[in-house]
């Protein structure tokens, strides 16, 4: 069998664990560091030919044994450790009774190797093996996951670390991968079914009579009543922060629950690199390590100029590498609290196994505000709003030639923070709401953050370590609106689900274009473009950071520059798995020449 090598290696390794063999096959070995000395190598696969098998495997969550969909028998799957410049062959065998796939998240590769069924290839049939072959042209922290239905949430995800050819500009003595995920005993399909029928199904943090009384005592009868009535009138819920919450999810760190406490060992004084990967299907988490400053050095696998922070938010599919320098001989808690505060994942950095530090209390659940509805400028005439360029013409996704009148937009690497009034188009019945105004919120830490004195990472902090070669100003501008309907659990772009809009969005090979994302919804989304980098236009001038996944806040208008250097069809979608599955998905096609369209 093709997977015999990795299996044998795994068995050999787990044999050395002695009494711990009962947990065989339930955790990847790199998640084991709490039981082993730090020098034990992680269960990782390297080399030019790697065999992976997707199958249903028993999986233990604390004291409950269940079944997960796994890569090589573990959740997360094995860590792939590869090298820049390497020609790699990844043979993926599907032992499920349904089609499967693996997508290499953030990796630049030929379109037919990208692993999206129905876009790149037909998928991997049950009982068959698909060989992915590509040359690795980058380095950094990445990951891979299934792109078929709910398999990703069910366990098909794993880290992929690519070492640089040249010496790594980031210095560190020790490193750990910290893969965050959200485990559920229900399937994605079942969750979507519940949410289509009852949108607040998983939310047990709604406002109740008790909250109302508290608000009346705090703010007075009239303001409290006004506030509740306003939300009720709009048929919105200010506590709608996460579609799926801690009610259904157990939050994992490297496949371990908070009780199992994943632990990374360090020697005081060492520089420890932590590679955070958010593999959660629907979860945004706020990461902090009380007692340590974190220096962010990489985002989405791309080096950035070091930024010191106390806390950062990581959305589905984003990655952040940080450096910490624990000096004391004590344990530190790695705390990953969910955006809606309904749960958390926790691990520990410690000089010796078995040590723990205090788990901080969860903060109280925040509320959405007027700003999240794009209503903050309702009465502020002084903010000179300008009409959305082409949304005003009612065709937001159709490209248009930039003319010289857009002075603000002509500067490459600009950050346009002016609020833009939403056009009259309300995107049809499938879109619940349009904000009056949208604007960049890249300098805001996000819902529930930034009001407790902690220094929180914001997108405007991210500056690439070195300027990237393509410094052209975008010659074409596209605009896409992130839309949806909370009451029906519909998610879409420009009011249309993928099933109603299968025509691809066209990029012209070689062009530099600007793509504006306008979030008309009151939720955070993470936009993921396959095959090409998105250069976040965050005002960093020549140092725009590159991302594969861009977090867009409620009522935010954000733009990325794209160098359309990869011909072929590519997926573009929200990386919240349930949003993608219900329609927030498009195909982007980079074509050499498009007959009948403007250049």
């Amino acid at each position: 069998m093709k997977d015999s090598i990795s299996r044998r290696a795994f068995l050999k390794k787990s044999g050395t664990l002695g009494t711990l063999t009962a947990l065989d096959g339930m955790l990847p070995t790199y998640a084991w560091s709490n039981f082993l000395s730090a020098v034990t190598p992680a269960m990782q696969l390297s080399g030019d030919v790697i065999n992976l098998t997707i199958a249903r495997t028993p999986f233990r969550i604390d004291h409950r044994t269940t079944t997960a969909t796994t890569v090589n028998g573990t959740v997360p799957g094995p860590l792939l450790r590869l090298r820049e410049g390497q020609d790699v062959t990844l043979n993926v065998t599907n032992r499920l009774d349904e089609t499967s796939s693996i997508h290499w998240h953030g990796i630049l590769l030929p379109p037919e190797m990208d692993g999206v069924p129905g876009v790149s290839f037909p998928g991997i049939e049950p009982g068959t093996t698909f060989s992915y072959r590509f040359t690795i042209r980058q380095y950094g922290t990445y990951w891979f996951h299934s792109h078929s239905g709910g398999q990703e949430q069910a366990g098909v995800y794993a880290p992929m670390i690519i070492d640089p050819l040249e010496p790594d500009p980031i210095q560190y003595d020790r490193e750990y991968v910290i893969m965050l995920s959200d485990w559920s005993f229900s399937s994605v399909d079942a969750m979507i079914g519940k949410l289509k029928k009852q949108p607040g199904y998983f939310n047990f943090q709604k406002r109740t009579l008790g909250d109302f009384i508290k608000d009346v005592m705090q703010d007075g009868w009239l303001p409290a009543f006004d506030n509740y009535l306003m939300w009720a009138r709009m048929r919105m819920d200010p506590t709608d922060l996460a579609d799926v919450t801690g009610y259904a999810y157990t939050y994992l760190m490297n496949g371990l629950t908070s009780a199992a406490n994943w632990t990374g060992i360090f020697r005081p004084g060492e520089r420890v690199r932590l590679r955070f990967i958010q593999a959660g299907a629907m979860t945004f988490q706020d990461i902090r390590i009380p007692g340590l400053r974190m220096t962010v050095v990489q985002a989405d696998g791309q080096n950035v100029q070091p930024v010191e922070v106390d806390e950062f938010r990581i959305g589905p599919a984003e990655t952040y590498d940080i450096i910490v320098e624990p000096k004391e001989d004590r344990a530190y808690t790695i705390f990953a609290e969910t955006l809606d505060r309904s749960g958390f994942a926790r691990g520990t950095l410690a000089p010796r196994p078995g040590m723990t530090a205090e788990i901080p209390p969860r903060r109280s659940r925040p509320l959405l505000t007027m700003a999240d509805m794009g209503m903050r400028h309702m009465n502020a005439e002084s903010h000179g709003d300008h009409e959305s360029h082409d949304a005003a013409r009612g065709e937001p996704t159709k490209g248009m030639q930039l003319d010289d009148t857009h002075g603000e937009h002509d500067r490459p690497g600009h950050l346009d923070t002016k609020p833009v009034r939403h056009a009259a188009d309300d995107h049809g019945p499938g879109n619940q709401f349009i904000p009056d105004f949208t604007q960049s919120r890249m300098d805001e830490p996000g819902i529930g953050l930034g009001n407790d004195g902690r220094r929180v990472l914001v997108y405007t902090d991210l500056k690439s370590l070195k300027p990237y070669p393509d410094q052209r100003k975008p010659e074409r501008e596209l605009e896409i609106h992130l839309t949806g309907h909370m009451e029906r659990f519909i998610w879409s772009f420009d009011g249309k689900k993928y099933s109603d809009a299968r025509e691809p969005i066209l990029f012209h090979h070689g062009e530099r274009l600007r793509w504006i994302f306008v979030n008309d919804t009151m939720m955070d989304h993470t936009m993921h473009l396959h095959g090409m980098w998105m250069y976040l236009e965050n005002g960093a001038g020549a140092y725009l950071p590159r991302k594969h996944t861009v977090l867009v806040k409620p009522a935010e208008r954000i733009s990325v520059a794209i160098t359309a250097d990869a011909p072929g069809p590519w997926a573009f979608h929200c990386h919240l798995l349930l949003h993608m599955e219900t329609g927030m998905f498009r195909v982007v096609e980079t074509l050499d020449a498009v007959p009948g369209t403007e250049p």
Binding site: V119, P122, P429, H485, Y498, D500
Partner: protein, 271 residues
Amino acid sequence: MKFFLQLGAGIVAILFLGAGSSLPAASAEILSDKAKQTLPNHLLQSRGEYHHPTHSDQNYAFLSAGVLEYRPGEDGGDFRWDIQGWYGGDFNRLWFKSEGERNTAFKADHDIDIQLLYGRFIGKYYDFQIGVRGETQIFKGRDVARAHAVIGFQGLAPYRYEVESALFISQDGDVSMRFQTSRNFLLTQRLILQGRIETHAAVQKVEKFTTGQGLNNIELGLRLRYEIRREIAPYIGISYDRSFFKTADLVREEGGDSSQVRFVAGVQLWF
């Protein structure tokens, strides 16, 4: 007998109507034609659930009992139900509704109502519904039945009122209306108080169905439920039902009580 024939004919009619106008099936064909222009051929030959990047056109089935309750009374007690469900996607749904009661103290012994409707999602919050309704009332030893055409709106009104309204035109051309609204108040995350109003009105008097001209009745309900799971919520409550004008006279002629307060105990269910 005649009633069931009519109801059957209505069901057939609605199924045809549904099949002809909606369209998830029809539009899927058009879309796959479009997809053919952009996807390589080998992608289109594959079939199966996970061959597509998303499943945003999936259909779901929903069944819900908003009212399913026992009403203790002098002669053994009555019951009342309001059940509805749908099958379909986000925009087009086939609806089923049944509402009725056994009420020995009020007009007919049994009052049973079944509707089959096609619903189209419009105006962001409402299903526009059209279809048929069969209605039967069973009196002591005497049954009456009739069929109606139905046109209605259902959805979520501002301030979070669940609203359901319908206009009925009977086989004999008699026009009547039903309006229902309910609202939830969260006492805690799981203990929820629901207020519910249902009212009927008619344009013509139809004595056979104990229906007078104008406002027929108003039913006010207050139900306190506890959601063990979201899908299962036992409740207790109180219901006040009052008939008006000519309808009240007809109810009294039948030996019923035109104004009654009932304690209720039941369970809200959905899946």
